[in-house]
């Protein structure tokens, strides 16, 4: 059948709407030198020590978030599948809550609950605040992480693998670390890339907890410079594109995971 005219029209209009801002940003980021295109804005950004510090901070945060999220989610999802299948809807509901409660409300709660005069004064020290921010990011990534891991677990026979390992004398740490984790690793990766994309540009949590992350840095540059923000947007978009691309590759490699997702 031939393509219908209306579908091309809709598609091209959509294409224009999504392509123009990207082209516009790229063009704008090259305009710093008067009269010709140059990479000056990028040079300025990469030479800015604050860029390197905040970007490095956010990368470390993202990696820690992924590691901690994995340590939290993989054993939980495994345990729920193995022992408490009836609790699955409850756990799933909890992991979806961060999509319902706006992040700004969650971080407001952190600030009120963990201030210096509370039972757990995390915001009192730099280390504590960093830890709180990391926990906040783990919370924001829960919906994606849990979903990814649970999808991965669905494709393997958790019970048989566990019993086989136990009959060979494996303990729980061995089972989770050397049997379950390698089996769901690809699924975990797909959750990890989304997490990375979210954490790297996150603004609200970092700004309100006063941490020197990449999101607040971008906002600061946006308020004070002309062409550099566009360069930062190009960089951020490239990172997002890269992460989501990797995520899609990872989820395509997960066997049978497409079967029941929609």
């Amino acid at each position: 059948m031939k393509p219908k005219a209306w579908s091309w029209l809709v598609f091209l209009l959509g294409f224009a709407y999504f392509a123009l801002p990207l082209i516009g940003t790229l063009e704008f980021s090259l305009r710093k030198r008067r009269g010709e295109y140059s990479l000056d804005a990028y040079v300025w950004v990469f030479e800015d020590t604050q860029f390197r510090e905040t970007f490095g901070y956010s990368v470390v945060m993202a990696l820690l978030t992924i590691v901690f999220g994995m340590l939290l989610v993989v054993p939980t999802a495994y345990w729920v599948r193995l022992r408490y299948p009836r609790l699955r809807p409850v756990v799933e509901f909890i992991t979806l809550l961060p999509l319902v409660i706006p992040p700004i409300v969650i971080v407001f709660g952190y600030i009120r609950l963990y201030n210096t005069s509370s039972f757990l004064p995390m915001t009192g020290t730099t280390f504590g605040t960093n830890l709180l921010l990391m926990f906040g990011y783990v919370t924001l990534s829960l919906p994606y992480m849990y979903r990814a891991v649970d999808t991965g677990l669905r494709t393997i026979d958790v019970r048989t693998l566990t019993e086989a390992a136990q009959s060979l004398g494996a303990g729980w740490v061995t089972i989770i670390g050397r049997i379950i984790l390698p089996n769901v690793l690809i699924a975990v990766m797909s959750g990890a890339f989304v997490t990375f994309a979210i954490v790297i540009g996150e603004f609200v949590l970092a700004a309100l907890l006063n941490r020197p992350a990449f999101g607040p840095y971008m906002q600061l540059i946006g308020a004070n410079r002309a062409y550099e923000p566009a360069a930062l947007a190009v960089i951020a978009f490239t990172i997002t594109w890269f992460c989501i691309g990797l995520m899609q590759v990872a989820s395509r490699m997960t066997p049978q995971s497409r079967a029941k997702r929609s």
Partner: protein
């Protein structure tokens, strides 16, 4: 969804099985549930802890009400337009006989763009539709059309709506494409055989089936844009008073007349997004009967 088969084989002997869920429960309690409860209870307390409804009553002052009103209007507009346009694109890709290879890139791009909210998104639109942005300049030079003298402003209701659509439309595409795939070919053929026109098929068969998905996604998009802070903040600073921006300023301490008003503002946000998401879950459950 299949539960793992319950084999009668012996279960691992471990009397303290609930310990396996303890870390997750503790984490969710400390970093999700207690902080939210703290806000909710705070909304109904005075500074020294006595119960009150005064904070909620204080929400009904003109400046706060107008913040909620503009937030709700923006969320409504972006959700509605996001649904319509997203539906159009998804329909073009699934039902419009476009070349098959287009579909993969459209879905991948939707995945990227729906995650591309926040500060960089606002930069992209300033670079495109700001006063010296690419489109603004080109329209002026090629067609002599000055957007800004025509009353367009990126830092306005419609400006913000236009920006939000950049992540709203792709989210709709991601959700509705599987639903459109779920429309069985037989339904179309059956209605064709019975002499229905294309319009009748859509009006009497396809749309009634899709309605819960569409309404549900509408609710999700509504909540999605209602809670967004970073995009608007980077775009407008504090000049456009939508609820998340007012709350952000409250927490930052820019506006310090009444700390408990912050709790009430946040509580109001939970109520609005909670209702929107509740609708989503409920309508979603109603559609699953059809698509499974």
């Amino acid at each position: 969804m299949t539960a793992p088969p319950h084999t009668p084989a012996r279960k691992p002997v471990l009397p303290l099985g609930w310990l396996g869920l303890f870390p997750f429960a503790l984490f969710a309690l400390l970093f999700l549930i207690l902080p939210t409860m703290n806000i909710v209870t705070g909304a109904f307390q005075t500074a020294d802890g006595t119960p009150t409804l005064q904070n909620i009553a204080n929400l009904f002052q003109p400046s706060i009400l107008s913040a909620y009103w503009i937030s709700i209007r923006i969320s409504f507009a972006t959700a509605l337009l996001g649904c319509l346009i997203g539906f159009g694109i998804a329909a073009a890709v699934t039902l419009g006989n476009l070349p098959g290879w287009l579909r993969g890139p459209v879905m991948t791009f939707s995945g990227v763009a729906s995650n591309f909210a926040g500060v960089p998104l606002s930069f992209a639109f300033i670079a495109t539709l700001g006063r010296v942005g690419l489109v603004t300049v080109l329209l002026r030079e090629w067609f002599g059309l000055n957007l800004y003298s025509l009353g367009f402003n990126l830092l306005s209701f419609w400006g913000l709506t236009l920006v939000y659509l950049f992540f709203q439309i792709p989210l709709m595409v991601l959700i509705v494409t599987p639903a459109l795939d779920g429309l069985r070919r037989e339904w179309r053929e059956a209605s064709d055989i019975l002499g229905a026109t294309g319009g009748q098929y859509w009006r009497m068969v396809a749309l009634p089936i899709l309605t819960p998905t569409l309404l549900g996604t509408f609710a999700l998009l509504f909540a999605n844009s209602f809670g967004a802070v970073a995009t608007a903040y980077a775009l407008t600073g504090s000049s456009l008073s939508i609820v998340p921006i007012v709350l952000f300023a409250q927490i930052r301490g820019d506006v310090l007349q009444d700390p408990h008003l912050g709790y009430a503002l946040a509580f109001g946000m939970i109520v609005v997004t909670g209702i929107a998401n509740g609708l989503y879950v409920w309508l979603r459950a109603k559609t699953e009967r059809w698509t499974v």
